[in-house]
């Protein structure tokens, strides 16, 4: 199987030169965008867990103090 979307292989050497970054192919951009979106979603997940923790603390203070 050959996998060389948009002839990216040819850019490898060029990318090592400063200021010569090639135009990023669509597939790559989509993947990075999806990855960043997932990563940014992690902060919401952390907040959800912290919120649950806060509720447990409140219940503890309210009913078992």
């Amino acid at each position: 199987m050959t996998f060389d979307p948009d002839g990216q292989r040819e850019h490898w050497v060029a990318q090592r030169e400063p200021g010569m970054l090639p135009r990023q192919p669509r597939m790559f951009r989509n993947e990075v965008r999806t990855a960043v979106r997932y990563e940014r979603g992690l902060v919401m997940k952390a907040f959800v867990v912290l919120a649950v923790l806060a509720v447990i603390v409140l219940l503890r203070l309210r009913y078992s103090a």
């Binding site: 199987m1 996998f3 990216q8 490898w12 990023q24 192919p25 952390a46 867990v49 912290l50 503890r60």
Partner: protein
């Protein structure tokens, strides 16, 4: 004067007890950092990159797994002419050479069999044999070091290489998941552990800008980085991957964890196998800690972007909290017992402070970990809940809700017409538990051989917790290093049970 001395001693013991929560709190802090990975990551510097990549696989008696691993690598979404696999056969006595030669015929020019006739010196020596050949010409632009049992997903390699488009990056690692199927309770514990230690903790380390360890089973290096390392892997320790990671950063290259590049590995399904593997890792960490003793905390207030952070206060704190976890456990227990038998009123507040901090960290880490990788979480959530062990979870519940639990216990004993146990009997046990659980974890390892022993050891692991088992390994590593025990490379047995979930 005497009262003053007693007060100071009491407060010192109180502080030591509460310090026992440091490893859990440091872990929670690392996970808080991970939550910021959406903003502090390396994606802005990424670009599509397909360097000519040599995959280096050290192999000793890997006939059961090597063929499938090569097939998966050959199916990678990567330019055919830019990927070669070099298997360094470390004097295997099984059918590894035949399996690799067969793959060489199946993929002409893309699979290379290198044979060491005198093997058994360890992974680093095997890797160096391959490195000498690969660096012998200038074809290779990047090198992926992996293990014979590791199965790569099709997109993994190209997802990793895109980070090498940034010339400041020397090495990239990916998310290794436990892939044995059907697996057992221990592999599920490991599956959960790998979310915490990799998908969670390494994201936090990306945010920090400093990684302690590139996973030995999946580390991608640029050629420039390998040359900067002298073209050789350290052979003096059992943690060649950690040494490589430290040296990469000390020589000015960045290391990056790519959480969206995934590969699957077979992990031990017995406590004996796990113990051998983790003892090797833990001894390696002792060696790293000693070797870099002039590095720790020497640059406490590094500005982000100004070189490596290995000498930083945050990295040092995270490293030592994990490295010294058995010490924290033992000193907490000893201090609690001292306060208790001295009749100090501080014993209960100290105990509660310790366990409330542990409880908060445990709930946060467990909840967040399960949300980071929901697919693995669905398979391992029971092991996640019981990661600290049944007794520790019970202590957490008791500390957080003492009155309702007291009442429930009273009712339970009354219903069973039993005398309610006196606190004087229970509390010393609870105070001693953290330290004593290390010894019980060791018993789990000793009890395993034999059929009945296996059931007993499984029960003991659930009682003390998988985390405690790992701490017992770390403690055993201290002892081995203090006794300067021989460094033997006890390879983990692989049987080819890895399957990628569809």
């Amino acid at each position: 004067m005497t009262h003053w001395l007693i007060d100071v001693t009491e407060w010192l013991l109180f502080a030591v007890v509460v310090a026992g929560a440091a490893p859990e709190l440091a872990g929670a802090g690392q996970f808080l950092l991970a939550a910021g990975h959406g903003w502090r990551n390396h994606y802005d510097e990424c670009a599509p990159a397909f360097p000519r990549t040599a995959v280096l696989i050290p192999a000793w008696n890997e006939g059961a797994v090597i063929g499938a691993s090569i097939d998966r690598l050959m199916a990678a979404q990567y330019p055919v002419g830019s990927l070669r696999v070099y298997v360094v056969d470390d004097a295997s006595t099984d059918d590894t050479p035949a399996a690799v030669r067969a793959k060489g015929e199946q993929y002409p020019g893309r699979v290379v069999h290198l044979r060491r006739d005198e093997g058994g010196q360890g992974k680093a020596h095997t890797l160096n044999h391959g490195l000498a050949v690969i660096l012998g010409d200038d074809w290779m632009e990047a090198l992926l070091v992996t293990d014979a049992d590791v199965i790569f997903e099709p997109a993994t390699l190209r997802t990793m290489t895109r980070h090498l488009a940034d010339p400041t990056v020397g090495a990239v690692t990916c998310y290794i998941k436990e892939g044995s199927r059907p697996g057992n309770y221990l592999t599920r514990f490991i599956g959960y552990e790998y979310i915490t230690a990799q998908a969670g903790a390494r994201r936090g380390q990306n945010v920090l800008g400093t990684l302690p360890c590139l996973a030995g089973g999946a580390q991608l290096h640029s050629r420039a980085n390998l040359l900067a390392l002298g073209g050789r892997i350290d052979t003096t320790s059992l943690a060649e991957d950690t040494f490589t990671t430290f040296e990469t950063q000390l020589r000015g290259h960045r290391v990056v964890f790519e959480p969206h590049a995934v590969c699957w590995a077979e992990e031990p399904d017995t406590i004996g196998g796990l113990w051998k593997q983790r003892l090797r890792w833990a001894r390696g960490n002792v060696q790293v800690t000693s070797c870099y003793r002039r590095l720790w905390f020497r640059q406490p207030f590094r500005r982000r972007g100004s070189g490596h952070g290995l000498g930083g206060a945050t990295f040092g704190t995270l490293w030592f909290c994990l490295f010294l976890q058995p010490v924290f456990m033992i000193t907490s227990s000893v201090s609690l017992l001292t306060l208790y038998f001295a009749g100090s009123p501080e014993v209960w507040p100290a105990f509660r402070a310790l366990w409330i901090a542990n409880a908060a960290a445990y709930l946060f880490i467990t909840g967040f970990t399960l949300l980071i990788d929901p697919a693995t979480a669905r398979r391992t959530w029971r092991q996640a809940v019981l990661f600290p062990g049944v007794v520790n979870v019970a202590i957490i519940a008791y500390t957080c809700f003492p009155r309702p639990l007291h009442a429930a216990l009273d009712d339970l004993f009354a219903a069973a017409h039993l005398a309610v146990p006196h606190a004087a009997w229970i509390m010393p046990f609870i105070y001693a538990w953290l330290g004593a659980s290390l010894a019980i974890a060791y018993l789990a390892k000793r009890a395993e051989p034999g059929r009945a022993g296996r059931r007993l050891s499984t029960a003991l692991v659930y009682v003390v917790g998988y985390g405690t088992l790992l701490c017992a390994c770390t403690f055993a590593a201290y002892v081995k290093e203090l006794r300067r025990a021989e460094m033997s490379w006890d390879k983990t047995e692989k049987t080819g049970k890895v399957t990628i979930p569809t």
